[in-house]
């Protein structure tokens, strides 16, 4: 089997001035699509290059299943790769491009043809199967590159931001193709992206990377709903979590939480879409002034609220009837099950009820 295991993997540049991977111990599960997600410069591309064998780690080991591949050359690692810019052979047809990696394989001609036909149908290239790749649009060209990368059914496939350079109106089609492909193939897939929507849409698991370390690894919804850190809460979501520091706002935080706080809690976090906003007449909830309101995704109202020194964003449903024009006074609250607590190291504090 081919899970990918990293042991104490470290990568330094400039004699240690830059650390792209900080002693990572990590397993990418067999048969799983893991999106390596993080802001630019977090080290995700470096990590993928090391897994591919295109870069050597400063220290630590890389295992494919039980096999230590740290010193194995890329071409002997038995993996497929898809890059930002599609790698295709100009002057060859789509079919020929997909068949090319099968040349050295132990398959009969009939089996090869069958494999190519299978991929053409799976990836949706029927209409252009016998066309040259030169005239293809960016979406189809990347689809051919994907088909080439997976055609040997190598146990591991690596994707480096494969949609980034696809034309906007083709992106969706390529995403759909990848989503289907990933669910049909039983390969171990690592997919590098900085785009949270892409990761949330395509991944079985997301490995969220920040400053050379894996911040959290979990299925997409779990990552979104149970952020293990402030970083995770901030990075996922549009906009990300609201945060209120306990220091200087203890009474406010206690009022929102509805009880005393344990000493370990340094920050309260919650997602804008879970903030309930109501008219000011009621007695419960925190008073706030509306600073700004704007139409957001799907007609929802994104409302910037100010409660004293504390700024909070709330995302209200499109059909809200509440007056949220600037200057209006309102009350807001957050259901207790939607609250996230973080300690002084910005790590999630497990609430007593969950422990």
């Amino acid at each position: 089997m081919a899970d990918i295991r990293l042991e104490g993997l470290r990568k330094e540049f400039d004699d240690g001035a830059v650390v792209a991977c900080r002693d990572l111990d990590l397993t990418f599960k067999d048969g799983t699509t893991t999106c390596l997600l993080g802001p630019s410069g977090c080290g995700k591309t470096t990590l993928m290059r090391i897994i591919a064998g295109l870069d050597q780690p400063t220290s630590g080991r890389v295992y494919f299943g039980d096999k230590d591949v740290t010193d194995v050359k890329t071409r002997n690692r038995d993996l497929g790769m898809v890059f930002q810019y599609p790698v295709v052979y100009q002057g060859a047809t789509v079919r020929e491009n997909i068949a090319l990696p099968l040349r050295g394989e132990d398959l009969t001609d009939a089996e090869k043809t069958e494999r190519v036909d299978e991929l053409i149908s799976l990836i949706g290239l029927e209409a252009v199967a016998d066309s040259g790749v030169t005239g293809l649009d960016s979406g189809n060209r990347q689809k051919v590159a994907v088909a080439r990368a997976v055609s040997r059914y190598a146990p591991i496939i690596l994707f480096d931001e494969p949609i980034t350079n696809v034309d906007p109106d083709m992106k969706l089609q390529v995403k759909r193709t990848l989503r289907e492909l990933f669910s049909r193939l039983n390969q171990t897939i690592i997919y590098v992206t900085h785009d949270q929507t892409e990761a949330m849409t395509l991944a079985d698991e997301i490995a969220l990377m920040n400053d050379g370390a894996i911040d959290q690894m979990a299925p997409p919804r779990e990552l979104y709903n149970d952020s293990a850190s402030r970083f995770s809460g901030w990075f996922l979501g549009n906009p990300g979590m609201d945060f209120i520091t306990v220091d200087g706002n203890r009474e406010l935080v206690q009022a929102i939480v509805g009880g005393p706080l344990s000493d370990s809690v340094a920050t309260l976090g919650f997602r804008p879409e879970f903030v309930k906003v109501a008219v000011a007449d009621g007695s419960s909830g925190v008073l706030a002034t509306v600073k700004h309101s704007a139409v957001a995704t799907g007609g929802q109202m994104l409302v910037n609220l100010q409660s004293g020194e504390v700024a909070v964003k709330a995302k209200l449903p499109w059909n809200t009837t509440l007056d949220v024009s600037p200057g209006t006074t309102v009350r807001w609250s957050v259901p207790s099950e939607r609250l996230n607590l973080f300690d002084a190291n910005d790590t999630a504090v497990v609430a007593p009820a969950d422990a």
Binding site: L172, L236, N238, A294, G298, G299, W318
Partner: protein, 366 residues
């Protein structure tokens, strides 16, 4: 209340490049103190519109009034407009401080004026710590802030920003959107800002204009324009996800579609015309909702679910038509919507808005 002064007034502007008519008798006025956003898809002519105001391009016909005066003979440098161009390049051999000061240095402002201006804008954009760095020591987001600061360094009443957040990653844009809005407010000046991103336009604008077909189709506060679009281009594009276009015809007070028909109020203009378009916003396509009153109801196949975190876009296909539904991620509607699954959908009649010749021409009646 005195009516606000128009700081910028485009009067019947036309501009073509060869056979390509970019602006076609466009008229549009920006009042003082607005965060005015011109929203248009790529190649719609946004940059040209801004460059004409800056004096960097010249209209084939029409006039621009700047601060109430015909600007035709005013040289770009004398127009007193701060400018953040779309493709910004910092001088690699100058510090951040000198980069920001560049425009002021060129016009020979005094040293004190320059120092004061640089520190003011650096403070606003939260880059005071970076003033002595060189551009190659900055992250992408920091560079963008420096470029914006450079445009804002000129002390004036009007700033033009040409898609300054394009290409920046998501989280940076989120932060800069708040910062830009607050910066304009703190300065009490007027911004004219172009973008191709609907979410950005809606988040930033005090007033938004939709540039399409060479004219400003509609101009007003974003919430009004979103809720009551008068023009097809506005409803179709000034939203995310984009509105769904349904195949529909209109006859005898009914909107006919592949999923049945619903009653509608229809302007005379739209009755019996073939050129009627019907739009529905994705948030009005309900999944698994029980039909209630007049609605279009059908069964669709789930083609893809895109997870935005707080909400999901569900891509659907029914009767050969593709459309989307926008669903909050905590909604029970999303349970078991696997790819290829069949799902019931309902579109309330009042969610269907009709347009004829680009103009609003009616609406379904629930």
């Amino acid at each position: 209340m005195s009516s606000p002064v128009s700081l910028v007034e485009y009067q019947s502007i036309s501009k073509a490049f060869g056979d390509n008519v970019v602006l076609n008798d466009l008229s549009f006025a920006v009042d003082e103190g607005e965060f005015s956003v011109v929203f248009g898809q790529s190649l719609s002519g946004k940059s040209v519109l801004l460059r004409i105001l800056l004096g960097l391009d010249h209209p084939d016909a029409g006039t621009v009034l700047l601060r109430g005066v015909d600007a035709s003979d005013t040289k770009p440098g004398a127009r007193k407009i701060g400018y953040v161009p779309q493709s910004f390049a910092l001088f690699p051999n100058k510090t951040v401080r000198d980069n920001i000061a560049y425009t002021l240095t060129v016009q020979h402002d005094s040293k004190d004026t320059i120092t004061e201006a640089v520190e003011r804008v650096a403070g606003l954009l939260d880059i005071s710590e970076l003033l002595d760095r060189m551009p190659d020591q900055l992250s992408g987001g920091q560079k963008q802030r420096v470029a914006i600061a450079r445009g804002l360094a000129l002390k004036t009443d009007l700033y033009v920003l040409d898609d300054p957040l394009v290409g920046l990653d998501f989280k940076l844009r989120e932060k800069l959107i708040d910062d830009l809005r607050e910066t304009r407010q703190a300065l009490g000046v007027t911004f004219l800002y172009a973008t191709a991103d609907a979410t950005e336009a809606l988040a930033l604008a005090s007033k938004v204009g939709v540039l399409s077909g060479g004219i400003i189709q509609e101009y007003g506060p974003p919430i009004d324009v979103y809720r009551n679009p008068e023009r097809f281009a506005t409803m179709a594009t000034l939203c995310f996800p984009p509105s769904n276009q349904l195949p529909a015809t209109v006859s005898e007070g009914q909107i006919e579609t592949p999923w049945g028909s619903v009653p509608a109020t229809i302007n005379g203009a739209a009755n019996g015309t073939n050129g009627v378009s019907a739009l529905v916003r994705p948030e009005r396509v309900n999944l698994r909702a029980a039909p209630n009153g007049n609605s279009l109801d059908g069964e669709a196949t789930v083609m893809l679910r895109e997870d935005l975190g707080a909400e999901e876009i569900v891509y659907l296909e029914s009767s050969g038509q593709r459309f989307t539904s926008l669903v909050r991620a905590d909604s029970a509607d999303l349970e078991q919507l696997t790819l290829g699954a069949k799902v019931q959908f309902t579109i309330p009649a009042d969610a269907i808005v009709l347009f004829a010749d680009g103009q609003r021409a009616g609406q379904g009646q629930s």
